[in-house]
């Protein structure tokens, strides 16, 4: 296992190298945008040229890339072109809201979706199964922003419960944290519950058709034991895969939820940076999330060995 982990970690280096090149080239395709934004409304050509020079945009692309790479190797992600604040600080300030939302969504979704999938498989073809599948189809179909507005209308505006928007750190009080994170969690969870519930159902159906399940029933095992100890454990590998990939998608896909509920997370930082052509931030966020993506995949691979002893690396 140790060798596997070491090899996988080493393998991330070329992956990150490719990511760095792609990110750099994509972001720099339109080099003039950032300078033009800084130049403002009264922008004579010579001033625009001065700003381009100051930002190093007049240098050849390979030279800019070399300088950036050198900075990166020293742990320096650069500074925001607009606010002059270090990129890592900006990302650090925004990580907590996004991770909090991803974590609460993951927790809530798994707690709801896995039992739903198990029940649907167990009651295959009966009304609980159909009900859960109908929910699943609706969950996939309703856009997050529509659900978000419906939840805001139903709870804070009609009933006066919970907050419309914003984020409060859990460190500043559990009440404030829950009052603000509940609605975005609900809105974001629905599609995720639909996804995990469907995968759980499918995996469980396959597991429940195996001989060892018949054997377990024949031995007189209780239904709950059969479902959880025998079937679910054996059906867990694809479920964990989907949860893992879903977590990555969640972190990357919270932009809409963060916008509707005004959560100052990574998603909004990225959108703001793109609109403002603040390319050091865009590069920084993409790189950090590429690392997270690689690490999550690594964790999933390790989890496989724990869930299924037959898997060896």
């Amino acid at each position: 296992m140790g060798r596997f982990l070491a090899l996988r970690l080493i393998a991330t280096i070329p992956v990150m190298g490719v990511v760095a090149i792609v990110v750099f080239v994509l972001v720099r395709l339109d080099r003039g945008k950032a300078a033009a934004q800084l130049c403002g409304d009264i922008c004579p050509p010579e001033r625009l040229a001065e700003i381009m020079t100051r930002l190093g945009m007049d240098k050849p692309l390979w030279e800019q890339f070399g300088l950036w790479l050198l900075q990166l190797l020293q742990g320096d992600f650069g500074r925001s072109i607009q606010s002059q604040i270090p990129v890592l600080k900006l990302i650090g300030d925004r990580v907590e809201p996004t991770l909090s939302l991803a974590a609460t969504t993951l927790l809530f979704s798994v707690l709801v979706a896995v039992p739903m999938g198990v029940v649907a498989a167990w009651q295959h073809g009966r009304w609980p199964d159909r009900l859960i599948m109908i929910f699943s189809v609706i969950g996939f179909s309703v856009p997050v922003f529509v659900l978000g507005y419906v939840l805001i209308l139903a709870f804070p505006l009609s009933l006066g419960w919970l907050h419309v928007q914003g984020f409060q750190s859990i460190g500043a009080g559990l009440g404030g944290f829950l009052a603000r994170i509940t609605l975005p969690t609900l809105a974001l969870s629905v599609i995720y519950i639909a996804l995990v519930a469907r995968i759980t159902r499918t995996s469980m159906l396959e597991a429940l058709s195996q001989d060892y399940i018949r054997t377990a029933y024949a031995k007189g095992a209780a239904t709950r034991t059969v479902l959880i100890a025998h079937a679910l454990r054996n059906a867990a590998v694809p479920i964990v895969s989907v949860i893992g990939i879903g977590l990555v998608l969640l972190i990357g896909g919270v932009v809409v939820t963060e916008t509707v509920f005004n959560i100052p997370g990574i998603g909004r930082l990225t959108v703001d940076a793109i609109l403002g052509s603040d390319y050091p931030i865009i590069q920084g966020v993409l790189l950090v999330f590429s690392v997270i993506y690689v690490l999550i995949n690594l964790v999933i691979d390790v989890l496989y060995t724990l869930l299924d002893p037959r898997i060896r690396y």
Binding site: A35, A36, P45, R47, S83, Q165, V260, D272, L275, S277
Partner: protein, 534 residues
């Protein structure tokens, strides 16, 4: 049993925790939570003209002079000033009690350095600099402006209310090169001003949240607050600017009471706002905003005045206003280059911009030699206040027989592309739209659209017209208000003849705030002094 008890106790804890915010709110400082029209990321109000940065400037900096509700320039940081008989020497004395947020006194050196930097970037500042022989320090509180030629707009320049507003900064900050942001030049001091609020730098999250705290050391003037002038008395402990990306969420948060103030709610949501008994809509900026269609003079077919005139004839302001604002209560027809309702408003030489004259426009196109060239309109799709303009112009120009193409892009791309002087087919452009606040269009100097210096010094579109430049120079030198007005009228006539740009109407953007706020001032800029919160 134990499990049930545990569940019960946990539920009680969660309910108690959810109730905590209400208790905490009652104990916290008096804070106004405001959602402004844009997020704040850059903090240098001299390096760029963005209005959100100007608004930030008014929070933490102060100005030597300021405009009141009579549109007169009044002393602000200045206690007294006098002019020599020949009007070439102006002596200013700073008032007592002016202090920077770090406790140091504000001095003449600070004022001179600030005005010197401002005059490199601002159009009126550049005009003033052109007539200036020197800024001279007399002592720590007194300094002089010595002119080499008459300049009729000294106070209008250093008391101008909108971008770039001549804010006074500490000398070490204001010594930043004019093209380098103060945060880059003075990383430790860039947030220090002498204004009524202090910038809470530790809580600054660019693009998300800005916090200002009351400056307890600020000594307000004794006069009543009036627009940007008068006593800036702060009546709350903190002001927080929160950026909420979604307009609907912003209004929902206001209705729920999570925020107190929205600077510019979108007009579509006014019905929901008006339904709430706790919210008031306040049209604080009577000068409003004015839309422009800017034409690029550098390339065919618009290097011919007749083709530009054809476009002017094709436009119906009502079409733009109706599509952007909708409710006629919040817009008005304004066939003037200078803000309607202000001193130099004039329609001299203007066509009837409520009724397009399609036949005349077609004839002008013919006389101008239009050969069916493709007209490229830069069309930002991410800026609610500008996005609707492109398709309206497209339709108007198609009606007169022009071959039009909308180039959809984000605003950042428009900003980058409009700076390019290349031919439209090689990455340039023919037309883009923008808007300015009325306070920026008060006279022929502040109005960037009247700049006719051409490709080497004008606003994007780069009109070149020596006659216009001569009239603007005459306006600057003239000290008699009646004669200034006559010159402004002649400039208007010339501007319509040459089509410096196409004015597309005046719009009002009222603020919405909860009735728990009182004392919100009128003016061209939203400010938070004088505002009380119950």
């Amino acid at each position: 049993m134990l499990t049930r008890r545990l569940v019960g106790a946990a539920s009680a804890a969660v309910i108690a925790a959810l109730a905590l915010p209400a208790i905490a709110t009652a104990q916290e400082k008096k804070t106004i939570r405001a959602v402004m029209h844009a997020p704040l990321r850059i903090t240098d109000p001299i390096i760029t003209t963005a209005y959100i940065i100007r608004n930030h400037g008014y929070m933490i900096y102060d100005t030597l002079f300021a405009m009141d509700e009579q549109q007169k320039i009044q002393p602000q940081m200045v206690e007294k000033y006098e002019t020599s008989a020949d009007k070439l020497t102006w002596t200013f004395t700073l008032r007592d009690g002016l202090k920077w947020h770090d406790g140091a006194p504000v001095t003449s050196d600070d004022a001179i350095a600030s005005l010197t930097r401002w005059s490199k970037n601002d159009a009126m500042g550049q005009a003033l600099a052109g007539a200036t022989k020197e800024w001279k320090k007399i002592d720590d509180k007194t300094f002089q402006l010595v002119l080499k030629e008459p300049f009729g707009l000294v106070l209008d320049s250093i008391g101008k209310p909108s971008s770039n507003t001549p804010f006074i900064m500490p000398k070490r900050v204001a010594e930043a090169p004019a093209n380098k942001a103060i945060a880059e030049h003075a990383p430790k001091d860039w947030h220090i001003g002498s204004g009524p609020f202090k910038f809470a730098i530790g809580e600054f999250q660019p693009g998300t949240k800005v916090v200002y705290e009351k400056n307890a050391d600020y000594v307000p003037r004794k006069e009543k607050a009036s627009w940007m002038a008068g006593g800036k008395v702060v009546k709350v402990d903190r002001v927080e600017w929160i950026n909420v990306g979604d307009p609907q969420t912003t209004v929902n948060a206001l209705i729920k009471g999570e925020i107190d103030y929205i600077e510019q709610p979108v007009h579509d949501l006014f019905p929901a706002i008006k339904k709430s008994p706790d919210i008031v809509l306040h049209d604080f900026n009577k000068m409003g905003l004015l839309g422009w269609m800017r034409i690029n003079w550098l390339h065919p077919p618009f290097n011919n005045a007749k083709v530009r005139q054809a476009v002017l004839m094709a436009v119906n302001q009502e079409d733009y206003l109706a599509v952007l604002v909708g409710d006629p209560e919040y817009y008005k027809y304004c066939a003037s280059f200078f803000t309607c309702g202000t001193t130099y408003e004039s329609s001299a030489g203007a066509p009837d911009m409520k009724k397009p004259n399609v036949e005349k426009a077609k004839q002008l196109l013919k006389e101008g030699g239009y050969k069916g060239e493709e007209i490229l309109i830069l069309h930002p799709t991410d800026l609610k206040a500008i996005t609707p303009y492109g398709p309206v112009t497209e339709q108007a120009l198609k009606k007169i027989g022009m071959n039009v193409k909308l180039l959809a892009m984000d605003w950042a791309s428009v900003v980058a592309r409009r700076a390019k002087q290349d031919a439209p087919a090689q990455g340039g452009w023919h037309i883009f739209h923008t808007f300015w606040v009325g306070a920026d269009l008060l006279n022929p100097v502040t109005n960037a659209g009247m700049n006719a210096k051409g490709p080497k010094g004008g606003f994007f579109g780069w009109p070149e017209d020596p006659d216009m430049e001569k009239m603007r120079a005459d306006f600057i030198k003239e000290t008699d208000p009646a004669k200034q007005k006559a010159i402004a009228e002649a400039i208007t006539k010339r501007a319509f003849e040459q089509v410096m740009y196409v004015p597309i109407g005046q719009m009002q953007f009222p603020a919405a705030y909860r009735k728990s706020l009182s004392g919100v001032l009128d003016g061209p800029v939203p400010v938070f002094w004088n505002v009380e919160k119950k």
